[in-house]
Symmetry: C2
Subunit: 225 residues, 2 copies
Amino acid sequence: MNGQQGSGGAETDAAKGISARERAYRGIRAKLLNGDFPAGGFIEEVAAAEAIGVSRSPVREALNRLAAEGYLELHPRRGAMVRGLNAAELRDLYEVRLMVETHAVRKICRERRVVPAELTVLCERHEATSPDDFLDCVEINRLFHQAIVAAAGNTVLVQVFDGLQAPLARVAMLSLQQGVGKTDIIEDEHRQMIAALSAHDEAAIVDLVKRHLDLMPRLVSALQR
Amino acid sequence: MNGQQGSGGAETDAAKGISARERAYRGIRAKLLNGDFPAGGFIEEVAAAEAIGVSRSPVREALNRLAAEGYLELHPRRGAMVRGLNAAELRDLYEVRLMVETHAVRKICRERRVVPAELTVLCERHEATSPDDFLDCVEINRLFHQAIVAAAGNTVLVQVFDGLQAPLARVAMLSLQQGVGKTDIIEDEHRQMIAALSAHDEAAIVDLVKRHLDLMPRLVSALQR
DNA sequence: ATCCCTCTTCTTGTATACACGAAGAAGACA
DNA sequence: TGTCTTCTTCGTGTATACAAGAAGAGGGAT
């Protein structure tokens, strides 16, 4: 229906320059993050196409992309099944994310890399964002961690990190929707991380990352009740 | 994500049970690994479709998938550009791969996980494979390392590992084609890794992994000449 | 001769039509 | 009444037709 909106909170649908494939991708993704599709159910191409106002072709491409990103599971001759979040996968995800971010901050410290000013900017944007705009909060938080990983100077590591984002975004959305996440604590920890990183204090930043990401498994267990 | 693809030698055309999309994917991927497409060039959909004997639709889906896997780069209104291998990316790739496999073997040792018998089987298959069948050699080697990562019991880690395979496969193919890789050395090291893993000797296996993967940057520099 | 403009042509992006297979409903038989 | 079979229906998989933008050729102006 009227559901499609992009990451930035601005009205993106009126912009006709956007391709149909992109509109389909964003629209379906937003609904997935919103929990509009039941886990385990199938997304029907014609229905999605009509809802967005495009034909099946761009919808199929969007579904393929979403499947590659881990949102969906493609079953031959059946369609695109919505993947649910299970505790085991989230535990694995947390472990991998910790590995990636720890590797990144260690590298930054050891190689005395300059910490991008972007991090502070993102903190300010986070502060300025309305806590009700879940999509925006999640996006800014993602950008913050991505910027840290990127500062390590390994493009493949960034790609790996990006590949983890699909389930992460869903967990984050769920937390915010249910009022579990506390954005002020997150922001405070982010500022501490900037300080430790800028000082190239490896022990401190590794500890901070561990504690910061430890939010996730606690959120998960809170959500499971 | 990285689908199991019919390993090399088998003739893949006559099998009619395979979907057109899969035929397109395998066909284009094989040509990419073979180096039949010049890096930086564009793959034209109609030409590829006619070469495989299907229409543009499955070819488009195959191109999307190959782009998601890192073989191609999609440029809007231009098409699918063949990504080349550059030294910087390969260095990054090696670093990430080392991080992943080190994490896996450490976890296996620390949690006293049982090492799958599959590893020995794969060694034997490797031994039995004709050294001329590049695709098969590369595939078996990939399966060996994937089995180790899988033995760590973290599905997300396996997915990350699979995500690295596109450029890895291309490097491996290139090495074999140019006679740089020595399969017997690789196999010997694989057997040592099985032994160290089975003994849960963390220091030994980490060292072995480091030395084993260190083949890669050396291959790369050899290929660059 | 060089540069710019225009037009042609080719390729991708999107829509639609057709084919095949799967899931569920309805009916026959035990 | 329960189960097996068959048929209908619906949705994906694939092919094709149409639209629109981009690259390159060709001609004209400076």
